[in-house]
């Protein structure tokens, strides 16, 4: 880390517009750039890029809007995503690889494979998902900078 430790932790907030596929991936790209500038290890950046991309896509595919909060500290990175949307009926089922409720339009774009949440689970050290049907979904995950999940 090339900066002094006093600037940590810091927060960044990103707004995600549901249904807008044109800029899909732009938030995860921005987060990747931030972490690169801060000098985090490549492995940590790679895992964050995967997890934030999937989280961003979930809001775009299934919600009206969402907010992604990023907390950057020297020891860990934390992301909290809250959206207003259809929600998830059965969180455990949604976590299973291959389970998807995506419609044809989403699938044609190459999304909706039912891998998003399990991808997030794989690359993070902690993950929490709660949802209220027809209201929205709350997702948070943490990636440890040292001694993290090697995935």
């Amino acid at each position: 880390m090339d900066q002094t430790e006093e600037k940590y932790p810091f927060y960044e907030t990103f707004h995600i517009e549901g249904g807008n596929f044109t800029h899909a991936g732009s938030i995860s790209s921005r987060i990747k750039r931030i972490l690169k500038n801060e000098g985090f290890p490549n492995q940590v950046i790679r895992r964050m890029a995967i997890a934030t991309f999937e989280a961003e896509m979930n809001v775009i595919c299934y919600a009206r809007w969402g907010i992604l909060n990023l907390l950057v500290s020297t020891d860990f990175l934390k992301v909290v995503v809250d959206d207003e949307g259809v929600g998830i009926h059965d969180v455990n089922q949604a976590m299973k690889e291959g389970f998807s409720t995506a419609d044809e339009r989403i699938r044609e774009l190459g999304f909706g494979a039912g891998m998003g949440l399990s991808n997030i689970k794989k690359v993070t050290d902690e993950m929490l998902l709660t949802s209220v049907v027809n209201q929205g979904t709350h997702l948070e995950f943490t990636i440890n900078v040292v001694n993290g999940n090697p995935a």
């Binding site: 596929f21 044109t22 899909a24 991936g25 732009s26 995860s28 790209s29 990747k32 790679r46 890029a49 995967i50 991309f53 999937e54 896509m57 774009l109 190459g110 999304f111 494979a113 891998m115 998003g116 991808n119 794989k122």
Partner: protein, 116 residues
């Protein structure tokens, strides 16, 4: 193997990123499901797909892929071209269908992610 060698050997049309062709290709990955590519492709891979929408650029950029190769002569969406140019991602087109292209790339020594 350098990306420009692949461009020449396989007569790939370079749509964007012509200044990025000096990159070393670490291997290849194929798929049209973005989550699958996000999960399994590796840095420096060429990615063979038939998806043409702008989100493929986001995936390639996030995973530091060497290039996107659109199989079957598919043309990228205008927005995809714009984004790829902005991000400096080489976007290449092959007239070969995916299976033929991948088979020939593999034969030419571009490895997959599993070493055998």
């Amino acid at each position: 193997m350098k990306l420009e060698t692949l461009v020449q050997s396989f007569e790939l049309e370079v749509k964007t990123g012509s200044d990025q062709l000096h990159q070393e290709v670490t291997g290849g990955y194929a798929g049209d499901l973005l989550s699958d590519v996000i999960a399994h492709s590796a840095r420096g891979n060429v990615w063979i797909t038939i998806q043409t929408h702008p989100n493929i650029v986001a995936v390639a950029s996030l995973k530091d892929l060497a290039a996107i190769i659109l199989a079957g002569g598919r043309e990228p969406d205008p927005e995809t071209l714009k984004k790829a140019a902005e991000e400096g991602i080489p976007l290449l087109i092959s007239l070969l269908p995916a299976f033929e292209l991948i088979g020939r790339l593999y034969q030419a020594g571009v490895p997959g992610i599993v070493s055998c």
